[in-house]
Amino acid sequence: MSAYSTKIRKNDLAFILFILPAFVLFFLFFIVPFIRSIYYSFTDLYGYNRNVNFIGLSSFLEAFRDENFLTSLTVTLKYALFVVIIGNIVSLALALLLDTNIPGKSVLRTVFFLPNVMSLIIVGFVWTFIYGDVYRSFMEILGNPEYLQISWLGNTSIAIYSIGITAIWQSAGYAMIIYIAGLQNISTDIIEAAYIDGASAREVFFRIKLPLISPVIVMNVILATTSCLKVFDFPLAMTSGGPGYATTTMALYIYTLGFNMQRTGYATAISVILFLIIAVITVFLMKFLKMREEKL
């Protein structure tokens, strides 16, 4: 008995030793900064100034009166809704297409996944080029029709969606791979049986495939939502948040506040708010989608 338990303890020690490096790094570079930023969000930390005063909740109160912060919040939500919904539809469509036996599907899978491997900043620059020079030269070929004179990144009401399109192009492949995995898990027996029973392709999709991959959908939606709420690279590379505040997402606003305006304390307060928003939305999504999943 005692020999047995010491063996277990020895094993535990080995496990702990294996986890330790990762845990120490995680603690040092994640937990500690996180706790410190919560502390700093209650202070008036400013740029190079060494004097830090405790100011309680005033940064948080200021945030909700700050027009620019509220703009960044709506911009982020618009972006997230657009990218999550359209993005998931696109990747699901691609997955359905590539789950059939069309020729060259493994090549196509690679092609669609490829943008995901590229650096976000580079993707951003390439798309800036596409929206600008490439689009304009196309229009010149078509003789500059008035109704196609779209300023993709310069128009305040569509710029954020233009960035969204880029994001979808970049991330659709990733979600697609997960969807394909989900679709391939569905046993062909069920689908065959349905066809024999006279179900149409549409019915098979809505009544069989969709319910069976709903856990995958939940996962993809949650992954996409969290990454969209934190989006930073695309707006920075493509518009630097402009024109005005039209594409300043929350993460970019935090960056501007902290590094251009030197308002470090206020910036950390907003990053705490961003954290809370993401946490609430994720928990809500999990609960809600899980519920739906069980119903289905």
Binding site: N49, G132, G154, P243, Q262
Partner: protein, 445 residues
């Protein structure tokens, strides 16, 4: 086979480690070894074997990639005079001020660094060596030195100005003469020029508003002569409550001038075109004017080396003498109070302020020198500038006295105004608010 392979790799690693060590031994001062992933350049390590003065290794941190060679040249000259001092450049081009801030916070401070607009802010944290009574400051043009970029409210000097630049309106002389136009001296003449160009389908101004800062340059070219040309102390008046954006008529004029620039430029594509796009438009003769800083000469000359252009002050009123060019200090250097070798740093500063070195610098950097009596010959446009200086059509005050957090607010308001999201009165109101808030934040000590 595998074993031999492993052995070979181990050997290579060992050799590379020992080589690394021997290199470092030559440089000696281990604490100045910084290992950031930024472009680094080591300048001449050891000169002739002098009877040993203490070997000093200084780290010079700046964000001016284009000045790398000029600095190397100057450092070489400096080494001839002081063989025991080596200076290493560290150049960070991507957001140098953020990197510098992180360095200051962690105590890994370079001995000498350029700090841009934030000098006074940084000095408040006690990070800088005060330069007020240094003899080499006598070589600097007084007006420049007094600028709020280097001297704080108590008359203490914290940074050494190196050069200055200006912001105004470039114009294409050929387009002007082809269309029978003369250089506008007054606002109504400018409006006339714009109308004539419009009737010929030539955009009057090249706009690259996709890059937010270019809008600010256009704005400065107008508000510096309009507001600060009339009242150099507007910032102080604003701080004391005597003036405000709302009750200063000239601010309203400035914004009207900005929308004039916008409406007569490549308005439709303005927010799709970036700074480089605007420069190439102007260089290719697709637009007659461009409101920018002197640094735009470089991209313009890259595309069209022989283009016949000039620069003028923005005609802000019907009085030709008010069409002033905005001149401001550009590059400056500070000494860290944490440096071990403050005396050597000061020697380098003294060296930078000698006339010969200042001449090398200015003609390479294509900017005005902050050092007295340096003549300029880098570009035909410099003639225009020299003439404007001689006529006194220069305004030295612009955005440099603003509270740091206000800059971004201002930059963001401009496109909102141009795109019609905000009207002029609400813009001015929000600027007043933003200024007061920015000031209270940056002063809470």
């Amino acid at each position: 086979m595998k074993r031999i392979f492993c052995l070979a790799i181990a050997l290579i690693l060992l050799i590379s480690i020992s080589m690394g060590c021997s290199n470092k031994a030559a440089v000696k001062d281990a604490e100045n070894e910084k290992s950031d992933a930024v472009s680094k350049e080591e300048t001449k390590e050891e000169k002739a074997e002098e009877p040993k003065a203490e070997k000093v290794n200084l780290l010079l941190f700046h964000g001016k990639q284009e000045a790398q060679e000029t600095f190397s040249e100057i450092i070489d000259e400096f080494n001839k005079k002081y063989p025991n001092v080596t200076i290493e450049q560290e150049i960070v081009t991507n957001d140098p001020s953020a990197i510098l801030k992180a360095r200051l916070a962690t105590g890994e401070v370079p001995d000498i660094f350029s700090a841009g607009v934030e000098v006074i802010d940084i000095s408040k944290g006690g990070y800088l060596v005060e330069l007020t009574n240094e003899p080499f400051l006598k070589n600097i043009v007084e007006d420049t030195l007094k600028s709020s970029s280097f001297t704080d409210g108590n008359g203490k000097v914290w940074a050494l100005p190196i050069d200055g630049s200006c912001i105004g309106v470039f114009y294409n002389k050929k387009i002007f003469s082809d269309n029978g136009l003369t250089v506008p001296q007054t606002l109504s003449e400018l409006k006339n020029v714009c109308e004539v160009l419009k009737s010929k389908n030539i955009p009057a101004f090249a706009l690259g508003f996709k890059d937010g800062w270019t809008i600010k340059m256009a704005a400065i070219s107008a508000f510096s002569p309009a507001v600060y040309g009339k009242n150099l102390n507007w910032d102080a008046d604003k701080n004391s409550g005597k003036a405000s954006f709302t009750n200063t008529e000239e601010w309203k004029t400035s914004f009207e001038l900005l929308s004039l620039i916008y409406s007569y430029g490549n308005t439709k594509t303005a927010f799709d075109t970036d700074y480089n796009g605007a420069c190439s438009m102007f260089a290719q003769g697709k637009a007659a004017m461009m409101a920018q800083g002197l640094w735009a000469l470089e991209p313009i000359r890259d595309i069209a080396p022989d283009i016949d252009i000039g620069i003028m002050g923005f005609p802000v009123s019907e009085d030709p003498s008010e069409a002033k060019l905005h001149q401001f200090p550009d590059f400056s250097l500070c000494i860290s109070s944490k440096s071990k070798y403050i005396d050597e740093c000061k020697k380098f500063f003294e060296f930078m302020t000698t006339k010969e070195i200042a001449e090398i610098w200015s003609n390479k950097a294509k900017l005005f020198s902050a050092v007295k009596g340096v003549s300029l010959s880098f570009d035909p446009v410099a003639e225009d500038v020299n003439r404007l200086i001689a006529e006194g059509k220069i305004c030295t005050q612009g955005d440099r006295g603003w509270p740091t957090p206000f800059h971004s607010e201002f930059e963001k308001v401009l496109p909102e105004f141009l795109l019609g999201k905000k009207d002029i009165n609400s813009v001015l109101g929000s600027l007043d608010e933003a200024w007061d808030k920015a000031r209270s934040i940056s002063q809470s000590e």
